[in-house]
Structure formats: C-alpha cells, structure tokens
C-alpha cells in the first residue's frame, strides 16, 4: 500500500489510536526536574507527562541523558554519590523525591530492564523468584505460580518450563533479556522502564521483545529508551526527543515523526546528526 493513501479502515484505526492515547491518564509526571552529577548538569528543567498504559519512547543522541532520565524515575541515580536533584517527579500523586519515600517500595513499583541482559548467575527459577523473595511476597506453591505467571507474561514459559533449574546463563541473549523482563514483572510493578533492551540482540529476538512490549502495555506503563528510530516509530505511542539534557519535543509518535515542530528534531529524524 502506498503510504499517502488512506483507506477507510486505516482512518478508523487512526481515530481509535488517537482516542486511546489522548484518553490515557498521566502516570509519571516530571516537574521542573534538574539533575547534576557533580558539576555536570545532566537533566535540565524537565517537565513532561508520561501516560499510563501506552508505550513512550525516549530517543536522542548518545550522552544526552536518556538513561539518567529513566533512572530518575525509580531513583536509581541515588547510588551515585555526587548526584543532586531539584524539582519533582510524581508517580500518580506521589512525589518520588519526597523525604519520606521508601526507595525500596518505589523500586518495587517500577521495574527496570537494562541494555545488556543481566540475569543473575543462578537458576532460571531463582532469577524470577529473586524479587518476590526479597519482598516476602510469596513462597512455596504461590511462589511457583508467581514464577510461572511472570515467565508466561514475558513469553518465555514455553521455552524454559522444562529447564527452570538450569543456570540462566545457558539461555540465549534474547531469552536472557525476556528472563530479565519476567524477573522485573514478578514483583508486580506498575511501570516498566526499558533502557535500549534490544541493542544487544539480533533482529528475531528484537521482534519478539517488541511484540512482548505491545502485549505488556495493557497492564503497564512502558517507557522505552532506544537509539533505533524505526523501533521508536514501530512500537511507541508517544515519543520524546532529548538533546543535551533537555526534552526538545514530546508528542504522539506519529506527529513527531511526520511533522516535527522543532528543527532539531527534524534534523535528528532525518539523520543529519546523531
């Protein structure tokens, strides 16, 4: 089909999409958020609203602060001693940076998947069970069920159901990454942050993860950092373009790719830099 031609079916679908995205409620809200590593001002006056139950992708050139942005949501940057912040990040109504926040509860609410698959050097089962055990959420039969449920959600159950006791390091890269997703889902988070989850994977494994992401958006708010423009266009509903610590443009993926408002965005999308 020619890209410019719009069939009635396509138009209906577009309207539906628009409705789905516009109707979504805010899940993660950044308010005048700034972050420094020592003297390095890495996130500058960020104010964005990430919506619930859709996929939002973050793109931008290397070093612009995408990972830092993600890690600001579950305060993973706290680990870095010279890190300072100002402003707020809300999940639902709760300010993540309020003083009385229990960081461990917060991180339980927010799952994270990293660029390089990083399963623990333990069995497949123990990997998925790890967070559940840490938080004392289940044991015995219930734990077995939680593990199975998470592996099914991560579309991995059929491939590993007969090797739960084997080391996770014997799985393929793509399987390892889905295991990491299952591990994150097992603690029943509300938000799933994925930092270039496919960059170490081949196209087939990537396609599997993309399909998986689509299926996850029903239950979760997914935020995806990606270097791959096609991937952002393919899987995400909304896209933010970041440049040297600022969110330059944020909107529906379709709009952002088809007629970007800012010249910087257009240059990036058309491959003039980055």
């Amino acid at each position: 089909m020619n890209g410019n031609e719009i069939t009635p079916g396509q138009a209906m679908q577009d309207v539906f999409e628009e409705f789905r995205i516009d109707g979504a409620v805010n899940k993660v809200v950044f308010r005048d958020f700034n972050l420094w590593y020592g003297e390095n001002h890495v996130l500058k006056d960020i104010s964005v609203e990430i919506k619930s139950n859709i996929i939002t992708s973050i793109m931008g050139p290397s070093g612009c602060g995408k990972s830092t942005f993600l890690r600001a949501i579950d305060r993973m940057n706290d680990i870095i001693p010279e890190c300072r912040t100002s402003g707020q990040v809300f999940i639902d109504e709760d300010n993540v940076y309020a003083e009385d926040v229990d960081v461990y509860e917060l991180r339980k609410r927010v799952g994270m998947v990293f660029q390089k698959p990083n399963p623990f050097p333990q069995s497949v089962y123990d990997n998925v069970a790890y967070g559940v055990r840490i938080h004392g959420m289940a044991n015995g039969r219930e734990l077995d069920e939680a593990v199975e449920r998470s592996l099914r959600m991560a579309a991995l159950w059929d491939e590993v159901s007969d090797r739960l006791d084997e080391s996770a390091l014997t799985l393929s890269g793509g399987q390892q990454q889905r295991l990491c997703i299952a591990r994150a889902l097992a603690v029943e988070p509300e938000i799933l942050l994925m930092d270039e989850p496919c960059s170490a994977l081949d196209p087939i494994a990537t396609a599997k993860i993309e399909t998986l992401m689509r299926s996850l958006q029903e239950k979760y708010t997914v935020v995806l950092v990606t270097h791959n423009l096609q991937q952002a266009a393919r899987v995400s509903d909304m896209t933010a373009f970041m440049y040297i610590g600022e969110v330059v443009e944020f909107g529906r993926t379709k709009d952002l790719f088809e007629n970007p408002e800012k010249e910087l965005t257009e240059n990036y999308i058309t491959g003039k830099f980055g």
Partner: protein, 282 residues
C-alpha cells in the same frame, strides 16, 4: 655476527630461562620425594616422636592442620568483612587509602617480625602461652592481608549489572551484597582463603615463636596446648640432628607437608577454574 644469529641466540637464552624456571618445581618434588619416601610408613604417619629422631609425626600433621584451620577460621571472616567494607562501603578518601596502605604493608611484613610480635604480645603480654591459639592468631596476622586483597578483588569483579538489577528490584544494598555479590564472588574469595592457608601451612618462623617446640608428642587437646607443626619438625631434624636417619625423617616430613600443600593448591586451582568457566559464557 649477523642480526639473525643474534636474534636466535637471544631467543635460545630466553627459552633456557623458561626451561630452568619450569624445572625448579619438579626437581624439588622429585628430590624431596625420593629422599623422603623411604621413611614413610604406617608407624611414621601415625606414631608420635620420641628420643628426637625416632617414632612418627602424627601430632605434627594434626598440629599443622589445626593451626591452619584455626587461622582461617579466625582470619577469613575478619578478612572477608573488611573486604566487603573496602569494596562496597568505604568512600574513596584518605582514610581508606591509609587502610589499603596498611594492609599492603602488612602483606609484605617479614614473618619473623610478626612471629616476634606474637611472642611478645600474645604469648607473654596476653598470657596465651606458646599455644595453638597464639600460633593461629599470629598466623592469621600474616594471611589476613592476602584474604582481604583476594576478596576485595573478587567482589569488585562482580559485574555492575548484577547490582543494578538487584537494586532496581527494590533490594537493599545489604541484601544485594549477601544474595548476589558474595555468591558471585565466592569462588574468588575461597581461592584467596585457600592460598592463604597454603602460605600459613608452609610458615615456620611465626609458629616457631608462638605455638610450640616442634617435637610435641601429643595432639593438642585445647586452644592452650603447645602445638607442633610439620615445618618446625623439619627445621629441627634438619638442623639439630646429626645422623642420616634424622635427615631422611626431615625429608619424609617434607614430603607429607608437600602433599598437604599441593592438596590445598589444587583445590584453589579447581575453584578458580570453576569460577572462570562460570564467567566464561558472558
């Protein structure tokens, strides 16, 4: 002489050095083995020494094992705990650097000095007497820095991705260390402890000054008992004996010590290989 000939001579010289280096170990082993195997008998291995050069070395074998085991039992937890602190918690400041400098220096400290300190401080001042406890504690002064260094390195080798994953799931730092970092680092830590045990097993000066006379006829019954070790026994028989019988007993005891030492080294090697293989596929 042309350049090629020169090159070949240099190459041959370097090769010869390697051959000599490689030969040292088998030559020692064969030498000790052939001189010592003659006295090895059931009585030698299970009897107790009497009239200087007669009888067996059972109390010395057990003494060495006790000394080394107690030394690790005391030193390993302290060393691993220090390593965890240094690797995971210590801020990188003057104090930490000083601690590092101290442990590095302690690692290179001549053992006779440690032995003398053990004698003066543990044996006399704390009145532990020359005993199993005094010997094991002094030995652990010697092995502690090695345990710390090996453990710290093993802990730092654990990929950051593991910690990130654990913390991102809502685990605390201590949970992460206990459940993820230490298990992943354990082969390295165990190798370090085993190498320390090997060092302690071969140590003479420290135990000489702090744990016993070397010819003890009884297996130590308590922490306060004087305890002889194989190394002391060998030293005594080789230096104070005047008969060929006493010399071949020194060799026999050396052979036993060598076998024990190799058992420890080989275990260290096995653990290390297992470790590398496990990290391999990543």
């Amino acid at each position: 002489m042309d350049e090629l000939t020169k090159e070949n001579i240099i190459k041959a010289g370097l090769c010869a050095s390697v051959v000599i280096t490689i030969l040292i170990l088998p030559v020692i082993v064969v030498w000790v083995g052939s001189n010592g195997i003659g006295v090895i008998s059931w009585e030698f291995l299970t009897g107790r020494p009497y009239r200087f050069e007669l009888g067996g070395i059972f109390p010395q074998i057990v003494g060495s094992i006790y000394l080394v085991s107690l030394c690790s039992l005391l030193g390993a937890p302290l060393g691993v705990a220090s390593a965890i602190y240094l690797a995971e918690y210590a801020p990188n400041n003057v104090i930490t650097q000083t601690v590092r400098f101290f442990t590095e220096t302690l690692a290179g400290m001549p053992s006779i000095v440690i032995g003398l300190f053990g004698l003066e401080f543990l044996v006399y001042y704390l009145q532990l007497k020359t005993s199993l406890l005094a010997g094991a504690v002094s030995l652990s002064f010697m092995t502690l820095p090695w345990t710390i260094r090996a453990s710290e390195e093993a802990i730092k080798m654990v990929p950051r991705g593991y910690r990130d994953a654990s913390l991102a799931l809502g685990a605390t730092k201590w949970q992460t260390i206990l459940k993820i970092v230490l298990p992943a680092a354990s082969p390295g830590i165990i190798t370090g402890i085993l190498l320390g045990m090997g060092k302690a097993m071969g140590e003479t000066a420290v135990v000489w000054l702090t744990s016993g006379s070397g010819l003890e006829a009884f297996v130590p019954r308590s922490l306060r008992s004087p305890t002889g070790s194989l190394t002391m026994y060998i030293y005594l028989l080789a230096t104070q004996g005047h008969t060929s019988e006493s010399m071949s007993r020194a060799f026999g005891a050396s052979l036993v010590l060598l076998v024990m030492f190799m058992a420890v080294s080989v275990s260290a090697l096995i653990v290390r290989n297992y470790y590398l293989r496990r990290l391999g596929p990543r």
